[in-house]
Symmetry: D2
Subunit: 343 residues, 4 copies
């Protein structure tokens, strides 16, 4: 951390800051500039997360500036090599494009089995489907719950596709972990710290969506909660952020893909279904995220999107999915990635 | 809901939409304009929250437009009179300015008792204090937990101030409800729907903070989750939203105060401590929110802010709090409100 | 500026940065920390605005951090005392609340004269009115242009109120300056640097609106353009920023008022008409901005808002304005300001 | 437009709205629903842009909803076929990826000639370079002005590459048009309506950057200003928007590419240099924007980016540019586009 003093600070202001730094067991190194004095704080200030805020409001202080990253275990510095998350043999983050596909919500045996077969045939590596659904309105369909989990397990039994599904509350972590291969944390729970730790404890791979207004740093700090509990298998998922633009449901943050790759060793995939909210935007944006380096895609596919109980507007038909997969393969190859798909 | 057809839509497109509307048990009334045809959907479309999304992506459809509000119980239409929430005799929302004050986190008996006495003497009506703390970094202080709750109860016993404290996880709702008078839902849990419902079931008053990127409509829908479970005692709390501006910690949304008053019958208070993140901004912004019509304030106060374990930067000293209370009283009177404070 | 080196940087990386600093005529002071090395750059880096960007992408560099503010003449450090802008005897920023009122656009002699008389009688100190109107759509009414300027001058002649009006293009600066007392730069021209300089040259007071997505720092840099051309008479105006919230037209940034007061010596007023976009929000938000310390208000008032050619939705009737002025006076007094109004 | 009445509106409120609609020469068609009455307004409401605002604040009115798009000439409805902009034989928007490259600012003859040759050899179709530079700070380098224009013309003479350069003020439109082949409107002037019209009058192709906080609709309305003056040759350019995320300079809006393609017939290219602000993000994001369907790229390239007078941090070296061009070609082919590059 650096402490920036105000131009007119007094000697006493300066001493007070130095004292506060020493109280925290750290050392202060002043540099006197033409317009400003700054104090470099030497020591592990990550262990004193409050110190910056405290100093920032002391008299004579202009502000403070972090130097170290606040996250550690998920940083590139801590681990240079890419993390590859192994989900029952599907390896995410190993120079491939992993496609996870399925309905937004599990609605019936017929729907989930048909979709699982269809996405498998067309090249998906994992099956997604919501059994517990977070809904902005209390009047919306909230999922089949445990019955939904059982249908997902049945689809896995038949197709061999590992299952990714969302867990929304600590109370259901155990039951979801019993059926799912990857536990998904949704955008609305991106800073539900108790849930993050509870999910970490299952030791199952976690798909961690970025919060709607999470900075990349906060997103990595959420991952840090999981890694700090001894679970290294985190797959990050960019799903669009909230901005002033309302022409699409969210603003897909394509910059986040190369930024995460630089800041962290964790794999990062993209969710163009939520990132756009409109079926006809999903294809172009999916290809864009792959070309920008995403390790995979998670896509909503439905046998009859117009009648979906949830997120029909952004779900692809089987035909649209097939056509997209063909293009994903071509774009992946164009940037030198092995395609995961065998269609 | 209104469905807007594209200029070049076919007769078939139109019929398909009309059929979809009828399938949902609703009626479609077309209006043929100069450039566009629109279809008015008559019936309770709040009960078909997916319908709009589904229709929106049908061929020939430009988009849909909601007409009814998606929330009901918390709307002004449903209940014209202001809701007054009674917290052990402190009546929030009755033309007064209720001030809730206390430390960000409960740190020790000494700290919480001293603060409780100080804020009571200076005119606060309730005591705030965090026992369970949501922290962006897993390396930050996370509160004294149950020990913190006990200290808050002890402070209430001595001062008579009702206690407001945050509950972060379903697993701790019961224990928090045992000690607290008002259960606070923090910004990061603003869309943790399981937690909202669990808290509703305690039948205790709920202080519901706005999510960092929640629209006012989403905030009211979160309140709707609580009201729909039979708990009418919700106090809304504006605490700043996330925008591009970084000079303060958040952007305090002053417009939200009169907007909420218009859209809902629930009381709404303001949290300038989190809304600004900087002690020296708290005073002016607190006065501004009161002048704009807020039913109260929640303020962080600490005996020695520079050494707080959490949010020291935005905590007021006892003296600053006293001085602010004097000004709050004057501004409240200026806009014709009874001041709650007797200093 | 501080340069933060990456943990694994080489000796060569370090030397390259030191060399680049020396090339710019500045000095580098390294501090070696536990996890990072940082280099303090001593000298006037404001004169080398590109240096930070250049160093930021050099090998081994994590990033750079500014220490000095990029603006100078409008900073509190440069001038400790509040600037008071004298507009024909109306002193803005001298512990008072100056109210500027009038129609969004000048539409007719009758409309502007009636409004000028009405706002004067009800306590306004200056008259506003648009002769040249920036319109998002080319199909909207764009103002009476020079004819509008003449009508404003006529209203000043009768009422004595100084005239504030917007200038939108360099080509019209001279003609606007001929008739107006204060030249307004609108939000859409907040970074139209040629226009800023052209307006500065007239030596008339300038009302500088904040851009819709300008940070406070960028807003002050826009003011710096004017001050740097030798014109010290700038009145800043907060008019709402663009965020994800769409329930009001913009998000009024109340935090900006105390922040600007801290960062700059220039007076700052508020425009709740544009900041909310809805007539019924204007009153509460106006009072809030005054309570937070704004030096004044600029308000849209129209004899018959439902028939205004521009911004009718946010214009106050004469009665609403009268009632608001009474409350502004009370709130101003509550915070110890002299009211400017004599009603 | 649809007018939505409040549930409790009176007969008188309803009649007043109907009257207001008739005053504008339009017709009102009421639909009475279960919870709400809405009034469909039939007629060309684009010609009455104020009507919606006026009605919105009338008693008994909940709000209004636009049905028609506010822009016309640039809409897909108005013209179904893609517009191809012909710049001295370089055809933009014809199923190809057009690459415009060059330095941020023209600094010297040596720099601009070397860069022009280098980008031509590596496959660029046009040369970019700033002679007049918009700078946030008045203390930054603002370009060589006319001397810069002459150097660009000299580079065109030698390489044959058409020249794209920014015009910042009405006063310089003529001189810029004399030397440039494409006039660029920068993000800060995206709503400088006088400049838009002045540029339109030159009849030269215009590269119109999206404003930092312009919605896609506002961006198209800015294009409408140019088309409405009889100049059909507009190339839109997505350059990143301002959001809460600060890890990159802006947030590149990839969704905007397919959205613009759907809403408008105009070609749209991407500027990953400004959209990311960091050289090492430019490559991945450029490929992503191409895969999402952008008609081209505009890229900053500099012989020695560490010593650039402007935007060095985001400029590519010649080698990075060569390598990126090879990948752009592959990605373009993967999505079935003819590559424009012959390397």
């Amino acid at each position: 951390m650096m402490v920036i003093m105000k131009p007119g600070h007094t000697r006493e202001d300066f001493e007070r800051v130095m004292t506060r730094i020493h109280e925290a067991g750290l050392e202060g190194h002043p540099i006197v500039g033409v317009e400003r004095t700054v104090i470099g704080v030497v020591g592990l200030d990550r262990l004193h997360p409050e110190l910056a805020d405290d100093i920032e409001v002391m008299p004579g202080v202009e502000g403070t500036v972090p130097i170290s990253t606040p996250y550690k275990l998920c940083s590139r510095e801590f681990k240079g090599d890419d993390t590859v998350v192994n989900v029952n043999g599907v390896r995410v983050g190993e120079g491939t494009v992993t496609v996870i596909a399925g309905p937004c919500a599990v609605e019936s045996e017929e729907q989930v089995m048909a979709t699982a077969r269809a996405v498998k045939e067309r090249g998906a590596s994992m099956l997604r489907g919501g059994a517990f659904k977070p809904r902005t309105s209390p009047y919306s369909f909230r999922g089949l719950e445990v019955q939904g989990l059982k249908l997902l397990a049945q689809a896995r039994a038949e197709t061999g596709l590992p299952v990714v599904t969302e867990v929304m509350s600590e109370a259901t972590v155990q039951v979801v972990a019993e059926y799912a291969d990857v536990l998904q944390i949704g955008a609305r729970n991106a800073q539900n710290f108790f849930l993050l730790e509870e999910v970490a404890r299952t030791k199952k791979p976690v798909l961690l969506k970025r919060g709607m207004s999470s900075s990349i740093q906060e997103w990595l700090l959420a991952a840090e909660y999981i890694l700090a509990k001894g679970n290294p298998d985190v797959i990050l998922c960019e799903r669009g952020i909230r901005t002033f633009e309302t022409a699409a449901r969210n603003t897909m943050d394509i910059n986040a893909i190369p930024l995460v790759k630089e800041m962290s060793h964790l794999p990062v995939i993209a969710d163009p279904s939520h990132g756009t909210g409109k079926r006809r935007l999903v294809g172009p944006v999916a290809l864009g995220m792959v070309a920008a380096g995403a390790d995979g895609l998670i896509l909503e596919v439905h046998p009859s999107p117009d009648h979906a109980l949830s997120d029909g507007a952004q779900s692809l038909t089987f035909d649209m999915f097939a056509s997209l997969m063909a293009n994903v393969t071509k774009v992946a190859e164009a940037i030198g990635k092995r395609a995961t798909v065998a269609v």
